[in-house]
């Protein structure tokens, strides 16, 4: 009796959205009919989403990929002897040799798509838990020091140095401290947190646990948006397995999962804390900063999922190892997410400094529709629209800021030539109107007035005057809003006007 052949079929929500479950069932049935001994592992996604469902077979040479697979071609896969790496029209060769994958620098996502997400021994076999073991033998100060030296900055969008946040919480005196993982990934065009939570949940738990050890916190919360039911389910199970594994000896760190309820604003840290306390998710005035006075009034570290999940490898391989990736003040790697009208959409983890052109044209291969690219919105719904002429910008916090844009959570949404930028600007204001928490006037009222003004511009009413008025509203929202929601909504609006002014003026002869 030989060992069963191992087949990987992802259980990531994106893969499931295009039929991965049905493919897994079809493979199982076909194998049974042919009396073949197989074992199906439901892994996370490799992040090559245009190839999903991506089926992989374990061979002596490594894992061989086939994709995108539908139920219809399962039978032909078996006929082509895919279990031994046979040729087929969907054959992609060795997964790790696919250029899209091979050209990445996967640190945070090193295991995603490779392991069984809920198998902790598989996690450990692929480098998991090494960071935690290192941290357990260190003092609080040393852990904070290594994170500071790594240069890690908040991956949620603000880019605040993680080590400094931790140091503040460490130095705060309190009988209870908390670690909160911000998994309220609401930005359109982003899905890295979801992919990680569904594909490698233990890395987040390990990062949170290390954060707990570093600052003396014994309780952690993961706040996951309700639009991610599968991530919630996977994380809940992962927490049970993690707690049962008793990894901390005589120390404790308890993790709770909380689900949001459809409010974008709860990704803002003070709003998230309110929501975690069971209240309306309204933004609070800072100071006090959460690291000194956060959840239930206690010192609280709030980090994005990707920031926390990057911590284990930093502890394992050292600050210098992580430092060596990236450029300038942006150290390490950034998981970029390529979406919208894109031929090869997915997750690309690269060191900071890669250009937008390399990502969109190199990795992405242009649009899915075949039409020319007109613009990319970088950094979510509050990020700037970058024209093709600006695609040589190097992707790091400072370089993007110089270009009048921002990195945000690393989302890149590609639009083709059919996009109307006045409508996109209007959408930015409308989104702010819908999602504003209502606490401050510039955001609550400014968004409504901004939308109305754009309606007039689109209707070609007093365009010049209304553009002046719109700029006025943008300035007020930027300067006067309490948080980034109102403060950054003008960014997509202004960038659209700046780079695509022709869409805001009435059409001339023949449009």
């Amino acid at each position: 009796m030989t060992n069963p052949l191992t087949i990987y079929v992802p259980c990531d929500a994106a893969a499931l959205s295009v039929g991965a479950d049905d493919v897994a069932i079809a493979i199982e049935q076909e194998a049974r009919q042919r009396n073949l001994d197989i074992k199906i592992i439901r892994n996370g996604s490799r992040g090559m989403l245009w190839l999903e469902p991506l089926v992989e077979i374990e061979t002596s040479k490594g894992r061989v990929a086939y994709g995108p697979i539908t139920v219809k071609n399962v039978q032909s896969l078996f006929d082509a002897n895919f279990l031994n790496g046979g040729d087929h029209k969907c054959a992609l060769g060795l997964t790790e040799a696919i250029p899209y994958f091979a050209n990445q620098e996967r640190l945070t996502f090193a295991r995603c798509g490779i392991i069984d997400p809920l198998d902790i021994s598989d996690y450990e076999a692929h480098g998991g838990l090494a960071g935690l073991r290192t941290a357990l033998a260190m003092t609080c100060e040393d852990i904070v020091d290594i994170v500071t030296k790594s240069g890690l900055r908040g991956r949620g969008g603000a880019g605040f140095p993680t080590g400094i946040k931790w140091k503040t919480a460490l130095e705060a005196k309190a009988n209870q401290k908390y670690i909160c993982a911000n998994a309220d990934e609401g930005d359109s065009g982003t899905f890295a947190d979801r992919m990680l939570m569904e594909g490698d949940p233990f890395s987040l738990l390990e990062g949170m646990t290390i954060a707990g050890l570093a600052v003396g916190a014994t309780i952690g919360y993961i706040y996951i948006r309700s639009e991610y039911p599968r991530a919630v389910k996977t994380m809940k199970r992962a927490v049970e397995i993690w707690q049962d594994a008793n990894l901390l000896g005589d120390r404790t760190f308890t993790i709770h999962i909380r689900m949001g309820a459809g409010a974008y604003i709860c990704g803002e840290e003070t709003s998230m804390l309110e929501s975690l306390e069971g209240k309306r998710g309204q933004v609070k005035v800072k100071p006090p900063i959460p690291a000194m006075e956060g959840l239930f009034g206690k010192p609280t570290i709030i980090n994005n999922v990707l920031s926390l999940a990057s911590v284990p490898i930093i502890l394992d391989k050292g600050a210098e190892f992580y430092q060596n990736y990236g450029q300038g003040r942006a150290r390490g790697t950034q998981p970029f997410q390529l979406g919208g009208d894109i031929k090869r959409g997915g997750l690309i983890e690269k060191a900071f400094g890669v250009t937008l052109r390399e990502l969109v044209e190199g990795f992405g291969g242009g649009t899915h529709s075949g039409k020319p690219v007109r613009t990319v919105q970088a950094g979510g719904p509050l990020g700037a629209y970058i024209p093709v002429s600006g695609f040589d910008v190097e992707m790091d916090y400072e370089k993007l800021a110089e270009a009048g844009a921002m990195l945000g959570h690393g989302g890149l949404v590609v639009f083709n030539e059919n996009v109307n930028m006045a409508h996109q600007a209007r959408f930015a204001m409308k989104f702010c109107e819908v999602e504003s928490c209502g606490k401050c006037t510039p955001c609550r009222i400014g968004s409504v007035r901004g939308k109305e003004t754009l309606d007039k511009i689109i209707a070609a009413e007093d365009v010049a005057d209304n553009l002046v008025l719109l700029e006025d509203i943008c300035e007020l929202m930027t300067d006067g809003s309490l948080c980034a929601m109102g403060g950054l909504t003008p960014m997509p609006v202004r960038s659209a006007i700046k780079h695509f002014g022709e869409d805001f003026t009435p059409a001339k002869d023949g449009g």
Partner: protein, 143 residues
Amino acid sequence: MVKSVKAMRQICAGHDDRPDALLEILHEAQHAFGYLSKETLIQIADELNISRADIYGVVSFYDDFRREPHTGQTGPCMKICRAEACQAVGGEVLADYAKNTGIQYHDVYCLGNCALGPAVMIDDELYGRVDAQKLDAILKDHT
């Protein structure tokens, strides 16, 4: 009625009647009863020892919570993504189609399926690359 009072008490007790677990409790109550009735909310206020005003404040703030049953809707709860990444690949055309054919849906801003849009979620199931034809087929499967 008595049955739902008992069930509600169990849900609250499952969270040790902690006010900070309010969102979790509301999610579970809505899952159990389909929506959050006035009676349900009053009972939660009593169990958690918080004011009714606080509860109404929370329920009205979050889009997920419904104070009324879906009127005249017997089918599943469908969400269509209206955010930028889906707009870029025809999400608006899909939403128009649903509207014109009388299919009920909720707007949602991003389902995290941005490379495989337009995206739709029915109950907890996510779908990608959805066009009018695929939408009809999916809805057929759900009825």
